[in-house]
């Protein structure tokens, strides 16, 4: 089963070590950042030297960008150094030449603008600068929930899972229009605060479909018996197989029911974003359309937890469906993990909690018909678009969409016992 875990212990260990050594590295931060800005500063200084002759000049640096204010002195020092290399000595406040550098940015990234003012004459030069600094470390779990970034990218992600291929692990990412396969990169992380492992795309398979996909796109990856995995999408079924170390994916139109529990499947409405309510095999009862269904361990055995389109959360136990109370704030996506804490199983639910700038994630237990929160809400700086239990059932994958700029992230969420 270890092969199915796509948040390997090695990486986790690295993260812990990273946090423990973060404070020690703080003093090295300016040096690291200086290395980041060294190239752009040198380039802009060169451009400045082309429009300003050597000699003393008054240097003014101001920041109109998202660069942290603490980095400005470092950048200024870089400019002073680089300009000096071109014979321009920054200093004299009474100098006739004023070099005004504005660290600006636009929709395409950083833009450093240098204005060389000599009397009434002004010359301008600009330089594009990448501001793709590594994202800040996400807030760690506060109480019992902990999440780990697996993958991040600009394209929508429906599901992601690591499937073992002989000799290595492959991260299969299901997107609306393709299935992408990633290999773990051997390069080191660019910044000490980075938390995402580095996956490199190795293969991509377009998903052919004859009908338009619904606007709220959903998809699931399931391990298959006779091949590597099945990818279920609205009206489409893809099969992935490993052949000689290479993956092959074939897709075709299909209205097959999707697996929702170990024993049951449900028909998905390919024009919408929900299941029709028809299960195979059925319960002998009629169900309303629902978004999510999963089996949940119960003392009596197993039950199915359903999140209906109308907002009701149903627990179908022993062929009896009952409303679960305390689910008013539940979102439409949840996953059941067997953490071993508490009753042993928790429902990770999107949406509840006091978040104002994004969704939140909370863990609940349902001892009877009441959902009882067992964790503090974990704020998520984005929208949770999918919650899928990992194949081993102890953790769950969470797909988050972040905006401005739009990015999709795959997080692995685990519940830690207090």
């Amino acid at each position: 089963m270890d092969a199915a875990r796509y948040n390997p212990p090695q990486l986790m260990f690295f993260r812990v070590r990273l946090f423990l050594t973060a404070a020690a590295l703080l003093w090295l931060l300016p040096v690291a950042r200086a290395a980041t800005w060294d190239g752009p500063a040198a380039d802009l200084a060169r451009q400045i030297a082309q429009i300003a002759g050597p000699g003393p000049a008054k240097l003014v640096v101001r920041n109109n960008s998202s660069i942290a204010g603490g980095e400005i002195p470092v950048i200024r020092q870089l400019f002073e150094r680089d300009l000096r290399g071109f014979g321009i000595v920054a200093g004299g406040s009474d100098s006739a030449t004023v070099i005004r550098i504005t660290l600006s940015q636009n929709v395409q990234g950083g833009l450093w603008v240098a204005e060389v003012q000599e009397g009434t004459e002004r010359r301008v030069t600009m330089l594009r600068v990448s501001l793709d600094a590594p994202p800040a470390a996400p807030g760690g779990p506060m109480l019992t929930l902990r999440r780990t970034l697996v993958l991040s990218g600009p394209d929508p992600i429906l599901d992601a899972a690591i499937f073992p291929v002989p000799g290595e692990q492959r991260l299969v990412v299901l997107e609306p229009e393709r299935v992408a396969v990633y290999l773990r990169s051997t390069t080191t992380l660019a910044a000490p605060t980075a938390t995402a492992p580095v996956w490199t795309e190795s293969q991509s398979f377009p998903i052919a479909h004859s009908r338009p996909f619904p606007r709220d796109m959903r998809g699931r990856l399931f391990p298959a018996q006779d091949h590597l995995f099945d990818a279920y999408l609205p009206g489409v079924l893809c099969a992935g197989a490993s052949t000689g170390g290479q993956l092959a994916v074939s897709c075709s139109d299909s209205d097959d029911a999707w697996p929702i529990t170990s024993a049951q499947r449900a028909f998905y409405n390919s024009m919408r974003d929900d299941f029709t309510g028809i299960l195979v095999p059925g319960f002998g009862m009629e169900l309303a359309p629902f978004y999510t269904a999963t089996d949940i361990p119960r003392t009596s055995g197993s039950a199915i937890l359903l999140n209906e389109v109308n907002g009701n959360v149903l627990l179908v136990e022993n062929a009896v469906a009952g409303l679960v109370s305390g689910t008013n704030d539940w979102g439409s996506d949840f996953a059941v993990i067997r953490s071993g804490c508490g009753s042993g199983a928790q429902v990770l639910v999107s949406g509840s909690g006091p978040a104002v700038t994004g969704d939140s994630l909370s863990a609940f237990e349902i001892p009877g018909r009441d959902a009882i929160p067992v964790s503090a809400p974990m704020p998520i700086d984005g929208s949770i678009t999918a919650m899928i239990a990992a194949p081993d059932g102890t953790t769950a994958n969470m797909i988050v969409r972040r905006d401005a700029p739009t990015r999709y992230e795959v997080w692995n969420v685990a519940a830690l016992c207090n």
Binding site: T102, V124, M126, R272, S332, G351, D359, D403
Partner: protein, 448 residues
């Protein structure tokens, strides 16, 4: 400025994510009210929902696939090939073909509603549309994302039929009814229909929102504060409307010095801080700072003494200032400009029905593009300036803009955002980079 940008971004993000905890539900009708015509160019809401373009603009300003799934340029951007998305149909079931795209674009170019088209010829090769231009058009993909290049076909009644997520189903009680297109290539929208009640006064819109008769209403920039005080759920776009004063170079203001004098006499700070309640971005640039990154290079300072010197003792007739917008804030801004110019020695009157032709015009110009180069090209076209941006680097864009503004026929004043107040039952509504609501992705609560 940075703070304002941050606030705008904050609001932008706030509404984007608020209420996104559950999946959108299909069905329901969203009731929307507007002050303008929902079909107007270039920012008619209904037009955006019914018609598609070959490309769309992403957050970074780059073109994204829409009706065209890919494209490539050849011959140094003199020739472009756009490959159409297969399987797309107009609302009446007619397949989208390269020929229908060309017919649509030919109509657009022929009626001149968006000015001259930047290509000299367009023809079909299979499912591809080939554009050939005499001069390079490096930003054609971004250009084709503009509303003016909507792809449509006209039915037997002359009505426009598109491929968008909604189709026009008629009018009901004065409201334009759009119904969901089940076969939309982007997937059926969540809403069953959208009712757009046009030409509603802002106060009436807000009243309707407060009593639940509307789900989405407009919020003028100058009323953003008020909306926030009333705790309305507000969506605020990035700056997309440029308030600018245009000066006719062929009338009494033919002297560049006098035009420069006018540019120096205007008090942008008063317009921004008071009339537009600090919701705008003071500018002397044709592009907002967040888009170009260099807008600060254009001075926005008022220099009344220099304005008087530049005006000199020229004997000028009473100048007429026209306003191309009937909104109260625009009228107020025009009156303020009259006062500003009066201080510099200009005698200006606001245009009335019987006044002389205007030599000054206060305009509110809408910007769709979201990349600096395409945006400058768009603005130059909107202001009727000839030429396009020559290079692709920021310095070239800046130099082109500097050249366009050098003769002071355009005096940019403020960049303003667009804002919408949204009812509680609306979910997942966001604004596209051009400031317009993405209603196709929105849904409403309380529907099955």
């Amino acid at each position: 400025m940075l703070r304002r940008f941050a606030i705008s971004g904050f609001l932008f993000c706030l509404v984007l994510t608020a209420g996104a905890r559950t999946r959108p539900r299909y069905g329901g009708t969203l009731r929307m009210e507007t002050t303008g015509d929902p079909w107007q160019m270039p920012d008619g809401v209904a037009r955006r929902l019914v018609l598609d373009t070959l490309t769309t603009i992403g957050e970074s300003g780059a073109a994204h696939p829409a009706l065209a799934i890919r494209w490539e340029s050849q011959d140094a951007a003199h020739r472009w090939e756009f490959v159409l998305r297969p399987g797309v149909r107009f609302h009446d079931g007619t397949p989208l073909t390269a020929e229908s795209v060309i017919a649509s674009l030919d109509q657009v170019c022929a009626n001149g509603s968006i000015g001259p088209c930047p290509w000299s010829a367009v023809h079909a090769v299979g499912s591809s549309v080939i554009f050939v231009a005499d001069s390079p058009v490096p930003d054609l993909p971004e250009l084709l994302a503009q509303t003016g290049f909507d792809i449509f076909r006209k039915d037997s009644n002359g009505a426009m039929d598109g491929t968008g997520p909604f189709r026009v189903s008629g009018f009901q009680n004065g409201a334009l009814i759009l119904t969901a297109n089940d076969d939309s290539w982007q997937g059926r929208p969540f809403l069953d229909s959208i009712a757009i009640d046009p030409h509603r006064a802002i106060r009436d819109q807000w009243l309707d929102l407060s009593v639940g008769n509307a789900d989405m209403v407009e919020v003028p920039p100058e009323m953003l504060r008020q909306a926030q005080q009333q705790r309305l759920n507000v969506l605020v776009s990035r700056p997309v409307d440029l308030l600018a004063l245009t000066i006719a170079p062929d009338g009494p203001l033919s002297s560049p010095g006098v035009r420069q004098s006018i540019a120096l006499a205007v008090d942008r700070a008063a317009l921004c801080n008071v009339i537009f309640q600090k919701q705008g971005e003071i500018t002397a640039s044709l592009l907002p700072e967040s888009l170009s990154g260099y807008a600060f290079l254009f001075s926005t300072d008022r220099d009344l003494d220099r304005a008087r010197v530049l005006r000199g003792g020229a004997t000028l007739p009473v100048l007429v200032l026209a306003v191309d917008d009937t909104g109260a804030s625009m009228q107020l801004a025009a009156e303020r400009l009259v006062l500003n110019l009066h201080e510099a020695g200009f005698n200006v009157q606001i245009a009335s029905s019987n006044s002389h032709p205007a030599s000054l015009t206060l305009r509110r110009v809408y910007l769709q593009a979201a990349s600096p180069r395409a945006a400058l090209d768009e603005m130059l076209a909107r202001f009727g300036q000839n030429g396009t941006v020559s290079g692709t680097d920021p310095a070239s864009v800046w130099q082109s803009e500097q050249a366009a503004l050098a003769n002071a026929t355009i005096v940019p004043l403020l960049w303003l955002p667009r804002a919408w107040a949204v009812g509680e039952r609306v979910r997942d509504l966001s604004l596209s980079p051009d400031g317009m609501p993405s209603l196709a992705n929105a849904s409403v609560e309380g529907t099955q």
